[in-house]
Symmetry: C2
Subunit: 454 residues, 2 copies
């Protein structure tokens, strides 16, 4: 580490802190490309107090607890920039089907029959178990009954940005776009001050939300200082149909509605022309790249290398487990890095450090949380995870970032903390009853399987 | 299960067998697309004696041991159709670099300095630990010192096909192509009768092996009944250079040398014209698809859907850990299925059952072992693995094959058997000293890291 550190003043009394974490490697993400050895993370009051060389830490701090992680990399919790957490109950219900067959004959009928508050609460619980076990500490959600999601997240101590979903058609959650907005605003007000939970407007997609709703959302987003989270240009067919119907690409329509800006997170973005990429950069739009979902549904290839070269902030999402089929950001990081190389034709495209940044700090920035999470930086919330690299599949270790992105798996995450609170230690969940969560998932399975045609 | 089963004759004495495995789900791979419930696998003398409904198994067999696997899928051991196992010691030594920089400045210098019998033995040991822990029971190897690989494999009880490597240039293993062949044949003779170990000729690639060596190998392969395992058309550049130098695509040259046939396994095959695909099908050539390596090195996209549509047998390989960076066939299955959909533009391409078949029976067939391994079929060797699907990330289970390919990870493999012998139980390795293996890997790391420029 090149950073200068002042010697501690002698005879100063040591400061008592809650926790000192002493990992084999400390990966702060910011500054980029850095891996510190012989460093410690000082945690107090739910926040990162310090990141400093171990000898200084021992002189400065009197921790109530020391967490020794001799084979582990310590890094910021992963940020899943796009998912539909409750859909985890539909994981693998129907696969290997053309998109419309999958949606119309399996997913939509199952949703119409089963989605309600209880489905969403139990689905989010299962998703949370998986996410925590895989090192995800913050997720950006878009689904019905965000109130259920909020309740589960708050109870478990995870961090989430809840999409206030808006659609032009009715669901069990709301009757019409005005009702969606109304229910969303109610929830937004109710959640004010709830730790770890934020809200974001989530108009589903250009093809499912009309101009009237979008114009209203633009005004409300400005008034309330909220972001907007939306599927945009997921497939070529979607763009072609819009052009055929209206003469406009959806991107152009959203721009004309003045929705595109720094608080806008566009999900998927597989179909982009050069001027749209330049515009995304100029306007400060963030992109949520979901590589495994895009591949699995044959949606197209998001031009990640070109977006990044233009200066666009690109975050990483798993999408829902019904189309992925997991919420594993390790898989998404690796697939994003590999796919960027394959698609661009350059083995140097999207190196490991940048894939990790997409899954952490870029996600935080896309959600307006970059001052709060996304890196191990003093002052930020103590959202961090440890990854045990001692397994044969991640040995030997020449370069920690390579190992994390190209060889590590979700099961190697050993510890997960959010705001200084342990959600998992040594792979044991501490704030969520795993057995009960699985039992409820099994009950839903029994109900859902009998009504699916496959 | 629709198969007819005769009722056991009453009063017949029960047959004593070594082991009865009772999984939640039994995935035989052959017949395709089948998942049996309430079935058992009967094992005796290292072979699969029977696959049958549990009530019949209880009446017919008196097992010395019953292995109850109430949350598990039981399937044939995975077959890695292409790897360089010893290179696991170079895992992550240098990443995110253009191919030639990676090879010339990192991999080749490290190999020149360090490769010898001890490097290969220790590297294969580390690879074996990773492979067993990930459910791979058979691998097709291509590297120097196959004698070291053979010794480790025989000691551990894994199954391998050892490439008798041939190159036109010298290495620590041999001085010239005649010497490579000579040493290979010596090893082939020495290994006759060694259980679990076979040999295959492994001329490295068209650009690194001349006509004289290939002509000799063709004659020897016929005489000895051995297969041929070769990198072919890995990149567009390699094909273009051959055309520039000789006027011929490498495929054409290999065909004119009469190397292409049912005993030929072509690795990578990213650059293929329609007539070459048709020819591969007509001649019975097998292909080893290495999707993660091809992406990571930006080598191109193997046209898997077109090859399979033409009737070509396509197996799955991890390639070496230096370019992947693991030996995880779960990752390769998923990437193969996802990539085939993305590249072909059809979400229905390469369904889960076919990805699993590539990683099992197609691999067995590519290696001439389809009568011995690759499916849970009576009479075959008892090479099988169990996968525990009870984790949140693989719940609920609607379709077992989807879950295995799209959601399961290597760490969910709980038990691994080869020829009826347990190599791993409850994730504990039984025939390999993991701590010593990791300690040796750490020693190699220390030596290798000091000489690498990165």
């Amino acid at each position: 580490m090149a950073a200068f550190y002042p010697l501690p003043v002698p005879f100063t009394s040591m400061q008592t802190i809650e926790l000192l974490v002493v990992p084999r490697w400390l990966v702060p993400v910011e500054p980029a490309d850095q891996v510190y050895e012989d460093h410690a993370l000082a945690v107090d009051g739910g926040r990162i107090r310090d990141v400093l060389p171990l000898p200084f830490a021992k002189q400065l701090y009197a921790p109530r607890e020391v967490l020794e992680l001799p084979h582990h990399a310590l890094l910021p919790g992963l940020v899943n920039a796009h998912t539909h957490a409750a859909m985890t109950l539909l994981r693998g219900l129907a696969d290997d089907l053309p998109l419309m067959d999958w949606l119309q004959n399996h997913i939509w009928p199952a949703e119409a029959r089963h989605v309600g508050y209880a489905f969403c609460a139990d689905g989010v619980r299962l998703a949370a178990a998986e996410m925590i076990r895989g090192g995800t500490t913050c997720f950006n959600d878009m689904y019905f009954f965000p109130d259920a999601t909020a309740a589960v997240v708050a109870e478990i101590g995870l961090r989430a940005v809840l999409g206030l979903i808006v659609l032009d058609f009715p669901s069990a959650w709301a009757a019409n776009w005005q009702d969606y907005i109304h229910r969303g605003l109610e929830l937004h007000d109710r959640l004010k001050g709830t730790p770890g939970v934020r809200t974001i407007f989530a108009p589903h997609a250009p093809y499912s939300v009309g101009d009237a709703a979008l114009e209203r959302l633009r005004v409300l987003a400005d008034e309330l200082g909220l972001g907007i989270h939306m599927h945009v240009h997921e497939t070529a067919a979607e763009v072609a149909e819009a052009v055929k119907a209206s003469g406009k690409r959806p991107w152009q329509r959203l721009r004309e509605l003045e929705l595109l800006g720094e608080n806008f997170l566009a999900v998927h973005m597989t179909e982009l022309e050069a001027d749209e990429i330049a515009e995304a950069a100029r306007l400060g739009v963030s992109v949520a790249h979901c590589p495994e979902s895009n591949l699995k549904l044959a949606s197209g290839f998001c031009p990640v290398a070109r977006l990044r070269a233009a200066g666009v902030n690109v975050a990483l999402g798993s999408d829902g487990a019904a189309s992925n089929n997991d919420l594993d950001l390790w898989g998404e990081m690796r697939t994003a890095a590999l796919l960027a190389k394959g698609v661009s034709g350059s083995a140097a495209a999207l190196p490991a450090a940048e894939a990790l940044r997409m899954a952490t700090l870029a996600g935080a920035r896309a959600l307006g949380l970059e001052d709060e999470i996304g890196s191990l930086s003093p002052g930020k919330s103590a959202d961090f995870i440890a990854v045990d690299l001692s397994a044969p599949a991640t040995q030997p270790v020449y370069h920690v970032l390579s190992q994390l992105v190209y060889a590590a798996s979700r099961e190697q995450v050993s510890h997960v903390y959010v705001a200084g609170r342990a959600l998992m230690r040594e792979r044991r969940l501490l704030t969520l009853d795993e057995a009960e969560t699985l039992a409820r998932a099994a009950q839903w399975r029994a109900r859902i399987a009998t009504t699916d045609p496959s």
